[in-house]
Amino acid sequence: MKDCCSHKERKKNQFIGNKINIALAGNPNVGKSVIFNQLTGLSQTIGNWPGKTVEKMEGHLNFLGHNINIVDLPGIYSLSAYSLEEIVSREYIASDEVDLIINVIDATNLERNLFFTFQLLELKIPIVIAVNQMDILRKRNKDINFEMFEQIFKVPVIPVVAVHGVGVYQLLEEAIELIYEHKFNPHKKEHRKKRRTHHHHFKIKHMYPKLELNTSSRELFQFPDLSPLLSFGKEVEEKIQLLEDNIEQNIGDTEKYHYPSRFIALKLLENDREIEKLISKDIHNSEIIKTSKDYRKNLEEYHGEEISTIISSEIYQNINKIIDSILIIDTRKETKKQSITDIIDHLTTHSILGYVILALVLIGIYYFTFIIGDFLGGLVDQLYTYLSTDIDTSTVAGKILWEGAVGGFFGAVGGVLVYVIPFFLLIEILQDSGYLPRAAFLLDKFMHVLGVHGKTIITMILGFGCNVPACAGCRIMETEREKKISIALTSLIPCAATMVVVMGLVGEYLGIGFVGLLFLINFIVIIFVGRILNKTMPGECTELIMEMHEYRKPNTRVIIKQTWVRTREFVFRSLPIIILIGILLEVMYIFSVLESVNIILTPITVFCLGLPAVTGIFLIYGILRKELTFALLEVLAVSIGVGSVSLLLSPIQMFVFSLVTMLYIPCFATIIIIAKQTNWKYALQISLLEITIAIIIGSIVNWGYFLIVNF
């Protein structure tokens, strides 16, 4: 708690230095991250599945002389305490750190999005509503009456087409205006309307002087009276007001809790545990909590429903009342033609074809990566051979530099990057299209066998790209138990780096059939681990509740940018290590230091797994980054002059080596993420479990092969 306070104070000081803090909030998948990227020029991950923004991301920009700090929050459906994300987002929005919220809503799904807006309005924080995907709405022959919208909600409402950047700067302009004037001024509507028509080349009419405030702008802000809009039915409203009066009498100013008294009353009535915990910290407040319990019981008996149902129903009723006046539907043009996305949706969730497509998609990703990577790899090899012909490697220094550094570099590019780039590209297309929730739909039932629901499939498929963000994505799981199992299963998925090893060794020298066999073994291990965790962890599986977003055409610019970002990360983390270790290995090889490290590992590497002793050190480096196991093998092959890895390892050794690399441990970055998501104990347990499994299965394959061949 203490940490949090000092953090807050620091933030406040920053505000004196002219910093405006804006948070982007809204339902999942409405385009918050797209707006964030447009404004900050950063590259927050964008995807078409719920929950991909797992942690809030911050960015800065300078707009008309103001320093603006923007935070992209995870998408949530309400401000209740249902999931961790909701609690975290709510606390963050309510804290002093936020001066204004930009509530991003999806124009094509006003009802459900406004449900969240209604809750945000209860927090009485300066707010600007961004209505995104206006282009899609208009394509459906619908439109929104923005004048009416602003009249009803009494806050600025801006039409936005985030992917094309339309309206995003106007959001900031409105935000600054709102913060500067401390209230929303609907009289300026005319002036705003005029501006709106020119939003493509908007110009600000007047500039505000820099904010010179020594207090949060929120305290000066006069929130409009929204009681006609937000009030509930007679019974509920009566109870909320009584409770609110009670709170005001007993607590007085609720500023210390950061929530308005009405919000606290509403949440106490709703049986919100977090708010209850907050209020009951003060022993004098026990009376309030008792009263709220009585009221709740009262209402539940009166309506014959659970309180959450009563309150949600009433909010939705209020929304229904206003939606007719906001939404304009051109019924003359309305067509009920089945669109291409409907057909794709139908096929990919079909009870037979759906599974065929799923298998083809997964196999296809690997197949194309292999084809493209193989072709590009050949070109890089030729280039290296061509360059090497004129180099003098007879001196020790020349040998270390050329074969260690340059050879290491070409090994990395030729053996690693050529696979990684097309692979990331395909994964990005897959996640941007909206296919992943369909896979979750098809495999939900199967995943229950492993103790989790279908959403885990999303993180597992993303794990094929990189385990690190995929394990972080396991936050979308609702309970601690499911999060832990999901993380364990996801960390067992062979990632792009592992794929490099498998493709480079087994794919290259033994053929694609053996790659399939490796995957089969990996798949069986995943089921095995899932079954064990499901049996041993207390608690049971929760049910899937997931929004199925429409398919959309992947945005080429987004795809290319994200692939570039991921590849850049991969290169900057990996290449220096590969080159450095390449040089180090060369030195160690010349001075024969490698031997002693390898000798210690001999019982495992040589006896159990039947590998050459030299692989011991590679497997250790592989914990850092898995592709190192293969990249270093190539470097070694070049530096000791055998040229090809196939002369270092026999076919069975290649198979076992790849298998062990696939299974033996999550990479270092993944272990850290697992520890962050759960705890270090669990991260180490998983690592140990995987090492054990890898050694056991590796030994079985090695000795099994040995016995079959010899007897």
Binding site: Y77, E306, S308, Y316, F441, D444, K445, I545, E547, M548
Partner: protein, 98 residues
């Protein structure tokens, strides 16, 4: 048949509409939620998404092997696991009409 007559017949049919759980309904059925009995947090979660008594939904898809069900509520598609589907009671009007 005059309009008045047809209306009364429709009303009668409405009165006799079948009450069953969401899992038993056919794909494409237009349904009205009668009761959500899924326990605390799940009921709350469903309410947030607009799945409350009185709301009209369409059962749009059902995954094989007794898998999850997709419904359309307020214009959005929501997938619900089998366990939840059994706890949502709906009234099915168009069985009688068809």
């Amino acid at each position: 048949m005059d309009i008045q007559n047809r209306k009364s017949i429709l009303n009668k049919e409405r009165g006799s509409s079948l009450i069953k759980c969401l899992g038993e309904c056919e794909i494409g059925d237009e349904l009205e939620v009668i009761k959500v009995d899924a326990g605390g947090t799940a009921t709350q979660r469903l309410a947030t998404l607009g799945i409350v008594p009185g709301v009209k939904i369409i059962k749009s898809k059902s995954a094989p092997f007794n898998g999850p069900v997709e419904i359309i509520v307020k214009g959005t598609k929501i997938v619900l696991g089998r366990g939840l589907v059994a706890k949502i009671i709906v009234s099915c009007n168009n069985i009688c009409m068809g």
